[in-house]
Structure formats: C-alpha cells, structure tokens
Amino acid sequence: MKTIILKTASNYLLPLLMLFSFFILLRGHYLPGGGFVGGLIAAIAFVLHAFANGLENTKHLIRIHPGFLMPVGLALAFTSGLAPIFYAGLPFMTGIWFPEPLSVIGMVGSALFFDIGVYLVVIGVSLTIIFTITESA
C-alpha cells in the first residue's frame, strides 16, 4: 500500500503504540491489560509499519528475526516460574515480591517477569505468523 497519509502516520504511530503496549503490559497485574494484550498491540504496531513501508523495511527496523523472541520470552517466563522453588522453597509459580516498590513501575515481583515473557512470546509468534503469510502470498 503506497499512500502517503498511512506512511506518515505509521512513523508517528509506531513509537506511540509501543509506548501504549508497555503501559498495558505494566498495568496488567491488577487492572485490565497484561502481557498478551500488550504483545498483540506491539505486534500490531509493526504490522502497521509493514503495511505502510513494506515488509523489508520493517524487518530491517526490527533487526533480529522475530522468531528469536519466542525462546527468549519462554525462558524468561520459565525462570520466573522456577524462581520461588529455588529462592523460597515454595511451589512452582508462587508470586514472590521485592519488599520496596520501585518508582513509576510500582511493586516488582516474579509475576511481572512472567508477563514480560508472555509479551515477548506473543510478539514473536504473531509477527512470525503474519510475516510468513505475507511473504508466501
């Protein structure tokens, strides 16, 4: 699609959507949001960019292959699940929390890292699927 409006808009929308996806990711523990939705929004940002500027440019923008995000995200989620077993002898995936809240982010615990893992996996999976379909079309 070669429309100048979409092209210009997508350049501004990409950072905005990424920021919004981080926001959704971080508020997800108590409020609507979370890793899955955040990941989808981030993926949409890249898909929109690909619509406007062509797939090659988006791939160049991301630099790494999106499939690589899958094992990274899985590993992060997996370790955050394992952490309570090794730190506290609690069952798998029990939430453990830092005692003091951080500024801006708030309370940080193993649940946040699990969500970040989900976020990365969702971006990786959806971008891989969409890029593959687009390439073979």
């Binding site: 899955f36 999976v125 699927i129 593959t132 379909i133 073979s136």
Partner: protein, 117 residues
C-alpha cells in the same frame, strides 16, 4: 438476556456445524471459528451473568457481602481465545498450503489417503 444468549449460542453451533459440512476448505475454517466462539459464549453464559459487579471482594470483609462477578469464566474464555487464535492461524496457513499442493479446495477430491493401496 440469558434467553437471547442461549439462542445465539445455538445459532453459532448450528451454523458452525453447517459450514463444516460444506465441501469448501474455507467454509470448513469458518465453521470451526463459529463453533469455537459458540463454546466461548457458552462458558460466559454458564458463569452466571452479573452486571456491573466487581469480581474482587475487599480485604476487610470477612464473608461475601452480596453478589459478586465470577472471574473464572473470563479467565477460561481468555485462555480459550488465545488457544483458538493459535489454532486458527495455523488452520489458515495449512489450508493455504493444502490448496497450493493439492490444487483444489473441494474436500471430496481430497481422498487419496483413504484409498486402498
């Protein structure tokens, strides 16, 4: 509200089955998607519909004060939606590949694996 939803779910299941029984590959996928959505709505309905109530009970109240929303069906539906998202995208790719290799979208033509050899 329950009554309308129940009828809607019935329509989803029926039309999904009808689409699955067509001979076209694309209609097969549409049928699967419809049945999946029907199942999700069914979970939603069977979790009892409550309007405008929070699922979380305040920490200081020792017992359930009054009616509250059941959070489990929502969690279940979310999981089911995520799973069906993966399955449907796989289905679309598979159908596309099958169409380009077998060169037909008529299910009745795809019987070579059932034939006696």
């Amino acid at each position: 509200m329950e009554f309308i939803l129940a009828i809607l779910i019935g329509i989803f299941y029926a039309s999904g089955l009808y689409m699955m029984l067509r001979r076209s590959l694309v209609k097969l996928i549409i049928g699967l998607i419809l049945i999946g959505n029907g199942a999700n709505l069914l979970i939603f309905l069977l979790g009892r519909i409550t309007k405008g109530l929070p699922p979380i009970i305040p920490g200081e109240s020792p017992v359930f004060l009054k009616a509250y929303a059941d959070p489990i069906p929502q969690a279940l539906i979310l999981t089911a939606i995520v799973i069906s998202f993966g399955l449907q995208s796989f289905a679309i790719v598979l159908v596309k590949r099958a169409y380009s290799v077998v060169k037909t979208d008529d299910l009745d033509q795809m019987n070579s694996t059932d034939q006696f050899s």
